[in-house]
């Protein structure tokens, strides 16, 4: 029993539960943004299940491929694969099983939804992780693109087409991802140098990277606000979104004006809270 618990705990670490959770919420919020009677509880649960499996699967497959660079990074060397708590074969089987189950379930729900979920998984594992991550710092754009796919997929399932709102929500996540990755690039610069992973701060300097983080945070806020306006969000929710956006803009301006690691990391944390809150607001209007 203790062994199973230890195993499950290691698997939980492999799927990066916080990141997976946030991406899952973007997908659910995008689905719920279409509102009842389009959305139903049965489909909502199916979206949650299929997205959870697909996102977790792609994350595990990334961990399998990146185990060599994780082993060289202080921040990541304790993860289950480099530390030997989970074997490569075991993780590969887990990742493939989760991915196939997730994409299969998604395709069964709707071919369009399944195709978008598959595109996200393919972009993340093959294009971002295997092809570009070790070659160019611009790989994060593809990383961002795959991060935006759950939102696009959720919306596509609800309205049965790729619409402007889905694209805006995906764009918001796409623009949020660089704030996440680049903040870690700055904070753990030595780790990335040791692992020979090309990053923006290494290529263009910290100042330019901070400017990009700020601009992409603002871009994400604009995309979310436009999506909320297009969705027809209630006035009260819009007021709250406006306040949260104001807070993000103030922090973004402050981090441009007086850049510091602390402020930069604070902006990254706030941007994550902002993304979570705005998605919850989009979801809340469905009830």
């Amino acid at each position: 029993m203790a062994d199973i618990k230890t195993r499950l705990r290691a698997y939980w670490t492999l799927i990066k539960s916080l990141q997976t959770g946030l991406l899952l919420i973007t997908g659910l919020a995008a689905y719920l943004s279409a509102r009842c009677p389009v959305t139903t509880w049965e489909t909502l649960l199916a979206v949650a299940g299929s997205l959870f499996l697909a996102i977790s699967g792609s994350t595990v497959l990334n961990m399998v491929y990146d185990r060599d660079i994780d082993a060289k990074m202080q921040r990541a060397c304790h993860r289950p694969l480099p530390s030997g708590r989970v074997t490569v074969r075991e993780a590969l089987i887990l990742g493939l099983t989760l991915s196939i189950a997730g994409v299969g379930w998604a395709l069964w729900l709707s071919p369009l939804y399944g195709a978008v979920v598959f595109a996200g998984l393919f972009c993340d594992v093959v294009v971002y992780t295997i092809w570009l991550k070790r070659r160019t710092p611009y790989s994060i754009i593809l990383g961002g693109l795959s991060g935006g796919m759950p939102a696009l997929a959720g919306r596509a399932l609800a309205v049965n087409e790729i619409d402007a709102i889905g694209l805006l929500l995906a764009l918001a996540v796409l623009l949020w991802i660089p704030t996440h990755i680049m903040t870690y690039n700055i904070k753990y610069a030595d780790d990335y140098r040791r692992a020979r992973v090309p990053t923006f701060p290494a290529a263009y300097g910290i100042r330019a990277t901070r400017a990009i983080i700020t601009l992409s945070s603002v871009g994400a806020a604009i995309a979310v606000t436009l999506a909320a306006l297009n969705v027809g969000m209630d006035w009260g929710y819009l007021r709250l979104l406006g306040v949260l956006t104001g807070g993000l803009l103030v922090l973004a301006i402050a981090s441009m004006w007086r850049p510091s690691e602390r402020l930069n990391f604070g902006l990254f944390k706030y941007a994550s809270v902002y993304m979570l809150s705005s998605m919850l607001l989009l979801a809340a209007r469905a009830f």
């Binding site: 929710y237 709250l240 807070g247 604070g266 706030y270």
Partner: protein, 201 residues
């Protein structure tokens, strides 16, 4: 500097959630201008709670804090005046705007004593309005008893504002540790009083 505890974070999060709720539901039967002013006040409370959770109590060392914190009592008091004594609305709004400008200017271009006195004066007037106006209205039977809670919130915001103001100017009324220990609870009780009071006024 006192480190933030889990309970501090829980208190600040609850304050933020209450402020967010108030922003979403708004205040029934109020003008659009007053709605924006209430949104500004509760918005600053919400963002302040989030920033305190993210950055810790160190964020209070920023010189902007005094100016931004003044927005809470000023916008709340202006909203209350527009709602319940509209004849005085424009005049009081001009005072609030000038008060905010004076706080900002004296922060950067005056001695500490003048900055403190300006801040204390503007905060005191705003707090008196938030405390006094609801009490007068309830006493005259022009408002529901719930508005008394707004007065209590006003008293708390006055205490909090003055404690922080004197702390920022280097002449704390009580020790920094005591202020930081009571601050999250003070903000939570104050916000709860405003939210309940505005709902049953």
């Amino acid at each position: 500097m006192r480190r933030m505890t889990l309970w501090d974070r829980v208190g600040l999060l609850a304050t933020g959630l209450l402020a967010a709720y108030q922003i979403v539901v708004g205040v029934e039967g109020t003008s659009q201008l007053a709605t924006w002013l209430y949104t500004l006040a509760f918005g600053v409370l919400l963002i302040a709670g989030l920033l305190l959770i993210i950055f810790g109590f160190e964020v209070l060392d920023s010189s902007l804090v005094v100016i931004v914190a003044a927005l809470i009592p000023l916008s709340l008091s202006v909203a209350l005046v527009f709602d319940h004594a509209p004849a005085l609305g424009i005049g009081y709004a001009i005072f609030a705007l000038l008060g905010l400008l004076a706080i900002a200017l004296t922060r950067y271009a005056a001695t500490k004593t003048i900055a403190t006195m300006t801040l204390a004066f503007v905060h005191a007037v705003a707090a008196l309005v938030i405390v006094g106006l609801p009490l007068v209205l309830v006493a005259r039977g022009n408002a529901e008893w719930g508005l008394v809670l707004v007065a209590i919130g006003g008293a708390l915001i006055g205490i909090g504002g003055l404690l922080l103001a004197f702390l920022k100017t280097g002449k704390p009324l009580v020790s920094r540790d005591v202020i930081l220990t009571i601050l999250p609870a003070l903000l939570l009780v104050m916000t709860a009083a405003f939210v309940i009071g505005l709902a049953i006024r």
